[in-house]
């Protein structure tokens, strides 16, 4: 409890008297179990019921430190970024990164040693972006991935096959669009945000090459992105739904025949639609193309400003390396994620059949994760261009030329720091 009831009353009394300085500084950490140093562990707010209680239960079971869990709504990245600048930030925090600037700025601790002997058990596609300079900066927790959900019955009625090429997807979306139902939902912004680099990977390209240069300086990029504009021009895209792409509501409510959303939506879709749906990766485009699904993992990181770095590392190792039972529970009992550890993913019965099995296969075969060198500045430049291409019909070649220029500068900046 951060603000105790007593402090509340004291403050109320003080406020009544017009004095405001009476409330004590009670940071009140350590209502978890165990003894030893007090650690604070931050999570972003998960939507699935029970997740919060679960992580609090894990923390309470740890005996070597008193761990307090903080459950943070709102813009989590912004909150952690601000908190890491100070001494009152978290000791341990989950992060959709860490970002290269956070690593280079010395804000997070090297966790390579924690994975001694088990490194190979972590899915390489999500472990790679946590690696920099040969060190590992966060322990992947669970894998999240996104894919295309489609309503079997609606496709059948319209005489449309599940699309396996981008052209087929564009055509299918057009055919499935009626006055009340749209063909495809890629988010309320028309897809620029959620698709990100996925169409580039589907065209056989990538965001950043292994050499650290721009990976989409290629005519194929403009060709593929240009096709996305057709979705918009045909009015096949659902726009302005009350819930965005991350929520399957639009799909379940029948506002759209196909929706791009996360694996986490699977249980809800299954519950509402039964068998009347299927899943697909983002379809390939062009002769060198291949299907693509974006994957990512929140990782557990330790703040370099923590007063108990060693204790924090030990706790992270306990929870996210040693306690495989908790890791399995966290991945599969509440939402629906793929465990980051290959051995757990293989064991999971829930992931062996139906759409879940497809999702696991897509992840292994077609998964791409955002490279560490792809910084927020690069992302903003690319996403702005993609939005203009999709919605305004801007010339993809010209837009991409600008982006390639900006991203090259940014890549040079971050790599200069490395050496």
């Amino acid at each position: 409890m951060t603000i105790s009831r007593r402090a509340l009353l004291a403050a109320a009394a003080a406020a009544g008297g017009g004095l405001l300085t009476a409330c004590g500084s009670n940071t009140g950490r350590g209502d978890g179990g165990g003894s030893g140093p007090a650690l604070s562990h931050w999570y972003h707010q998960y939507g699935e019921a029970g997740t919060e209680q679960a992580v609090k239960r894990y923390a309470a079971a740890y005996t070597k430190a008193r761990v307090t869990v903080q459950w943070r709504p709102g813009n989590y990245d912004q909150q952690t970024a601000a908190a890491l600048l100070t001494d009152s930030g978290p000791d341990v925090f989950e992060v959709n990164g860490p970002s290269l600037d956070q690593i280079q700025g010395g804000q997070v601790v090297d966790l390579t040693g924690l994975l001694d002997g088990v490194e190979d058990d972590y899915n390489p596609v999500v472990l790679t972006p946590k690696r920099h300079d040969g060190k590992i900066w966060a322990i992947p927790q669970v894998i999240d991935m996104q894919m295309l959900y489609y309503r079997k019955s609606l496709l059948r009625d319209a005489g449309v096959e599940p699309p396996t090429t981008l052209d087929a997807l564009v055509d299918a979306a057009k055919k499935l669009t009626t006055r009340k139902v749209k063909g495809l939902f890629l988010g309320n912004d028309g897809g620029a945000g959620v698709l990100g680099g996925t169409p580039l990977y589907a065209a056989g390209l990538r965001l950043v090459t292994d050499e650290g240069t721009v990976g989409f300086d290629d005519p194929a990029a403009a060709r593929t992105l240009g096709k996305l504009h057709r979705l918009h021009a045909d009015k096949s895209l659902l726009l302005g739904a009350p819930a965005d792409w991350s929520d399957p509501s639009a799909f379940i409510q029948g506002l759209t025949a196909m929706q791009w959303t996360g694996l986490w939506a699977l249980p809800q879709v299954q519950k509402e639609l039964g068998d009347d749906f299927g899943v697909l990766p983002f379809p390939a485009d062009g002769s060198t193309g291949r299907p693509a699904v974006p994957v990512g993992a929140y990782g557990a990181a330790v703040s370099a400003r923590s007063r108990h770095v060693d204790a924090a590392e030990e706790y992270v190792k306990w929870l996210w390396v040693d306690r495989t039972d908790y890791q399995e529970d966290f991945a599969l009992s509440y939402g629906f994620h793929i465990p980051a550890r290959l051995s757990l993913a293989k064991k999971a019965a829930k992931l062996r059949t139906g759409a879940a099995a497809d999702a696991v296969r897509f992840t292994t075969d077609h998964g791409w994760a955002q490279p560490l060198l792809w910084t927020p500045a690069a992302q903003t430049a690319y996403q702005d261009a993609l939005s203009r291409i999709i919605k305004d019909g801007a010339d993809p070649e010209r837009e991409l030329r600008t982006v390639v220029g900006k991203v090259s500068d940014e890549l040079r900046r971050v790599q200069r720091k490395t050496t």
Binding site: N75, D77, Q78, A81, A82, L84, L85, G97, S99, D101, Q102, Q104, G105, Q107, R179, K180, G187, N188, D189, G190, A192, G193, V194, G196, L238, L239, G240, A241, P242, D244, S246, A250, L255, T375, P376, A377, Q379, T380, Q383, D384, S387, R388, K391, D392
Partner: protein, 325 residues
């Protein structure tokens, strides 16, 4: 400012005090009392506004990625980077246009409301309350209603239900760039939230107009309506109008909340209708922790707001003395 004469008097008194014999003791006593009254406030403002402000200015000369205690001095690099960033320039231009539109629109609507409410005989308090009530709403709540209920892009949004009634296709209000329907959403939410507050300012101004003026105008044969409005009411409301326009302009350039709540999503913000503050927010506060660049942009923005405000004040013939002081 109606306060000008009084202000002048105070300063004159101060000047007189300076010259009179034994002025020193008087001075000291006054200074003491002044700081007794103003001191706590000024100290707090210095600590919680000026310190962060100067800190921001200082940051703007450094390469400050993910740090507030940078060591790498870069001179004016952040400023040149910001000024040559077309996304930032775009946002400044967009917001100049937005200001040019929203200021007159809010002005006209709130003045019209005030004139009507002022003249209505029955239910006056009722109407005043209704128009004023939205001012109590937070931007978060207003954005929620606008985005999810009135102007959502699907068939069950209120606006689309109305369109459907007339047989028109549903419109994705916030996502359509051609025509830019999102402006309709942004402008209406701002009008709804703000008009009532400025209406109250105008109502207060109207109350202060001497009825004799209207009687005289009637004797002179001015027809009620436009002529009276133009020759009596508006000139008498000049002071209020100036204050309202100043407040509106400052508010328009500082636009953040409703834009952020209406248009941002988990993945960022679309490249249109992006106010400078929202752009800076993403540069400096989101995952892009480029605090030096963000601070440089903030300084540029604050300078623009300052220049516009002071320029406007001069244009209206206000604060001439202020500018000297």
């Amino acid at each position: 400012m109606s306060a000008r004469t009084v202000e002048a008097r105070t300063t004159a008194a101060a000047a007189a005090a300076r010259q009179s014999p034994g002025a020193r003791a008087v001075h000291r006593r006054r200074a003491l009392w002044f700081w007794v009254f103003v001191g706590p406030f000024a100290a707090g403002l210095a600590l919680f506004t000026y310190v962060p402000l100067l800190w921001s200015v200082w940051l703007s000369f450094f390469d400050a990625h993910n740090t507030v205690t940078p060591t790498h001095f870069v001179g004016l690099d952040n400023y040149t980077a910001m000024l040559s960033d077309d996304a930032f320039r775009d946002s400044l231009l967009t917001f100049a246009l937005f200001t040019a539109f929203i200021v007159p629109a809010t002005y006209v609507l709130s003045l019209a409301l005030a004139l009507m409410v002022n003249r209505v005989r029955r239910l006056r308090a009722f109407f005043r309350s209704v128009f004023f009530l939205p001012a109590a709403c937070s931007y978060v709540v207003a954005a929620l209603i606008w985005k999810m209920s009135i102007f959502n892009g699907v068939r069950f949004g209120l606006a689309n239900t109305v369109l459907d009634f007339f047989g028109a296709e549903p419109v994705a209000w916030l996502s359509t760039t051609d025509p830019p329907w999102y402006w309709l959403v942004v402008v209406t939410v701002r009008l709804w939230l703000q008009a009532g507050f400025y209406m109250i300012l105008f109502l207060a101004g109207l109350q202060r107009i001497d009825p004799v003026l209207y009687e005289a105008a009637a004797v002179d044969g001015a027809r009620p309506g436009w002529q009276v409005l133009r020759h009596i009411t508006l000139p008498q409301l000049r002071a209020t109008s100036v204050a309202v326009v100043l407040l509106l302009v400052v508010n328009a350039f500082q636009a953040f909340d409703e834009f952020y709540n209406l248009l941002s999503d988990a993945r960022g913000y679309p490249p249109y209708a992006r106010p400078p503050l929202v752009y800076l927010y993403y540069t400096a506060l989101g995952q892009g922790q480029n605090l030096g660049l963000g601070s440089a942009g903030a300084v540029i923005l604050a300078l623009i707001i300052g220049v516009v405000t002071v320029g406007q004040a001069r244009w209206f013939g206000l604060g001439r003395r202020n500018a000297d002081g």
